[in-house]
Symmetry: C2
Subunit: 332 residues, 2 copies
């Protein structure tokens, strides 16, 4: 038996292109004890994957050239030589971009599709949800009445951060890149204000007007000049969870910008880079809160679902052009 | 009765000059109840004073044009209408740059010159000591075996940070601006390595060689390209207490430099701006440790003492040219 897979054809220089990816047909090996054969249902595409295409020092080992991409995948068990999973189970794992996947039982956990749709386990109840939760709650530490600014506000993480900050009584201002996204996060996700950075000539002033009391928490998903504009309005004792820098990921050289440390110093600001794995021992706490808020209707999601396994490269590249609203997924 | 005072003549643009200061003769008012008349003994000059000469948003209100400079002063009581202080007592306070000063008892605390020389209360047992302590211990949180890099390493704070990091079992690398300073911190203050940034062509490489295991704590007193070089060698989960940015204080425009956030993000680094006043409720803890280490001979200081009240402007300006080794003071 064979299956399709998508491998890293070559490490991209600058923005990845279709040539970064190669489709291959590969053998599906016979199952050993403790293994299952899976049919991929939903494949997650995430901004952090750009980092893994390079071999710079980072928190995760890079993808290998000639080997499959991998990421969060929700899949259905087709056949099982594991005592933990049976045919028909829906599971989650960090898995190769293959249509049919042989996985070891230790890499997988079962997901409960009676609580929420399967795709949610790659978004609001998965890594993006936990990322939003730990970044905001454990680094940002919101207090009622504070002002929270979120960049990439209509993205998978941003849209959750804004809602969580509202749950905690904050004023929430989102930054996004289209009028549709701006309208959506205000109407559907109750952001107090939203700014389209692409059509706003003076972001520094726009942030100032949207945040009359200054910025207490800046949840940064994008970096670059948008972040400069927010940080110029930062308050004393503010917190900046650094979650993403998507505007800079495709740069071939280190970007330049204003030196922010004097401002961080004189205003006693905390800036903390993080990835969700830093909070691994607290996942149960995070998941409990996320599931509770979803159940109570306080935390909602939006998804951009692209049909077809062969659309995975297009979907991933689309992230860097802002083609997604909320969590971007590919449905096989 | 009259006395000499030094006032802010005009807010400096860029580097302050002699014209930033004006000497005046002023009346010494009669004492009210609760007041004392003081004779200044030691006047502290500190890099943070540059910030107070401007009216940009900062942690402290700016000096006022036409009003005296003020800062940490150790003084002797000449006469007293306070029940708390008597003639001959040596006291510490944030006081005006006047030769004779009328102060309220609430602004002062007595210093014990049997424990340490009076000047120490402006340095190793004063604000610089507490700054080093809280920045290193409460933000840096050193663990034995870690590598700590200190910029401004021969300055009032830096020389203490290095020694405290040694007390906690760290490898300590200092950065300073003359060969004499480099030799001093290695010989007298037991730094493992020291680098003269003025004669080192490739600081990034020099830091890499001095820190074979990378940098776990970067205690930053200077900012700018020196900090860029250190941060390019920063480890996962490193901490960067932002204590000073003296290389940038005299800039008239916001300086530019590499955008560091992508590195802080992918390596989960914490950067925390702070001033010592943030830890005000923990001063007794800090002072206890400082006094203990001084008593045990584990923590030593060096001072640059300039003679003459009229030398205060020269001393303060000298800080920005690195004229001090250790704590810079003026002895009246």
């Amino acid at each position: 038996m064979t299956t399709q897979q998508i491998v890293l054809a070559a490490r991209p220089v600058g923005t990845p292109t279709k040539d970064t990816f190669r489709f291959e047909t590969t053998e599906v090996p016979a199952l050993h004890a403790g293994q299952v054969l899976l049919q991929g249902l939903y494949y997650s595409v995430d901004p952090y994957m750009r980092g893994r295409m390079s071999d710079a020092k980072s928190y995760a080992p890079p993808f290998e050239v000639g080997k499959p991409f991998y990421g969060g995948v929700v899949a259905k068990v087709l056949s099982s030589k594991s005592d933990l999973f049976k045919e028909g189970d829906v599971v989650l794992g960090m898995l190769s971009w293959q249509q049919q996947i042989v996985a070891n039982e230790k890499e997988l956990r079962k997901v409960d599709t009676t609580i929420a749709p399967a795709s949610y386990y790659l978004g609001i109840l998965g890594m993006p949800g936990l990322t939003a939760y730990f970044g905001l709650m454990h680094i940002g530490k919101p207090k009622a009445g504070e002002t929270v600014v979120v960049s990439g506000a209509a993205g998978a993480v941003g849209v959750l951060v804004g809602q969580m900050a509202k749950i905690h009584g904050c004023r929430v201002v989102g930054i996004a890149g289209t009028d549709e996204k701006v309208a959506l996060i205000k109407k559907e996700f109750a952001f107090d204000e939203a700014i389209n950075y692409k059509t706003t000539p003076n972001m520094r002033l726009a942030i100032k007007e949207a945040c009359p009391n200054g910025v207490d928490i800046y949840f940064d998903n994008v970096g670059g000049p948008i972040s400069d504009a927010v940080i110029s309005n930062i308050n004393f004792h503010a917190r900046i969870p650094l979650c993403g820098q998507i505007s800079l990921y495709n740069n071939t050289e280190m970007a330049s910008g204003p030196r922010l440390q004097p401002m961080l110093l004189t205003r006693s600001v905390l800036m903390q880079g993080f990835i969700v794995f830093n909070f691994q021992d607290k996942y149960p706490e995070g998941f409990k809160h996320l599931a509770q808020w979803v159940k109570e209707g306080k935390l909602k999601t939006t998804e951009t679902i692209i049909d077809g396994f062969d659309q995975l490269p297009t979907a991933l590249l689309g992230l860097f052009k802002g083609h997604n609203t909320g969590k971007m997924l590919v449905k096989a």
